[in-house]
């Protein structure tokens, strides 16, 4: 199981899903209507490190975070 966290304004509780890669995470989130509108807007971090490819293997307990558009300051 990996844990998916939705940061800031997404306002959704973390979920635990079965996924061996980031691609699988994308496929599972895509099927969730509420989430799919956020997918085009969000950056992604694995274990608090931003990633720029879907070719990331995941292991038990990994944390995936979705970061919607930001505006600090």
């Amino acid at each position: 199981m990996v844990r998916v966290e939705f940061l800031g304004p997404i306002g959704k509780e973390p979920i635990e899903i079965e996924a061996k890669s980031l691609k699988e995470v994308a496929q599972k989130l895509k099927s969730d209507k509420e989430m799919s509108k956020w997918l085009s807007e969000c950056a992604v971090a694995v274990n608090d490190k931003l990633v720029d490819t879907l070719d990331v293997k995941l292991k038990e307990g990994d944390k995936i975070s979705l970061l919607p558009p930001v505006c600090g300051g």
């Binding site: 304004p9 994308a26 950056a43 990633v51 975070s65 979705l66 970061l67 505006c71 600090g72 300051g73």
Partner: protein, 146 residues
């Protein structure tokens, strides 16, 4: 150093401690940026969510880059509600001489706006409304939109 505070920043006291630190370290140039909540369009306050683990990494990367140029960075940001005419953000660059500080402050503040994992909300009639229009997608966004 990265400092996070609940509610508005005590700007004078943060400035004072930073400025003392800088002169003791023999830095000749010290630049600060202060961001203050403007009264406009009937908002009562802005409100902020901060994701600290990634913010800290972002800041540490910048610190390293600054150190390579002989400079040093500090930053303070608010979490939660920050009423109009109070401040939510301070950034500072210290360097031996002015050139490096003048260049870094601009790049540091601009990249903060584009990359720091912080989300802003307008507070209107006590309600928190995500400031989507003023927000920027972090570089690489849309990765999961397959």
């Amino acid at each position: 150093m990265l400092e996070l505070y609940r509610g508005p920043l005590d700007v004078d006291s943060i400035f004072s401690s930073w400025q003392k630190w800088g002169k003791d370290k023999n830095f000749g140039a010290f630049i600060t940026f202060v961001g203050t909540v403007r009264e406009e369009e009937g908002i009562e306050a802005l409100s902020f969510d901060v994701y600290e683990p990634i913010l800290k990494k972002w800041f540490d990367d910048w610190q390293e880059r600054a150190n390579e140029k002989g400079a040093y960075l500090k930053m303070a940001h608010s979490i939660g509600d920050v009423p109009v005419h109070t401040s939510s953000y301070m950034a500072a660059v210290f360097s031996p001489k002015r050139r490096v500080a003048l260049e870094l402050i601009e790049d540091f503040v601009e990249d903060f706006k584009a990359s720091a994992p912080i989300w802003k909300y307008d507070v209107v009639n006590g309600e928190r409304v995500y400031a989507r229009d003023r927000s920027q997608k972090i570089k690489g966004s849309g990765l999961l939109d397959i």
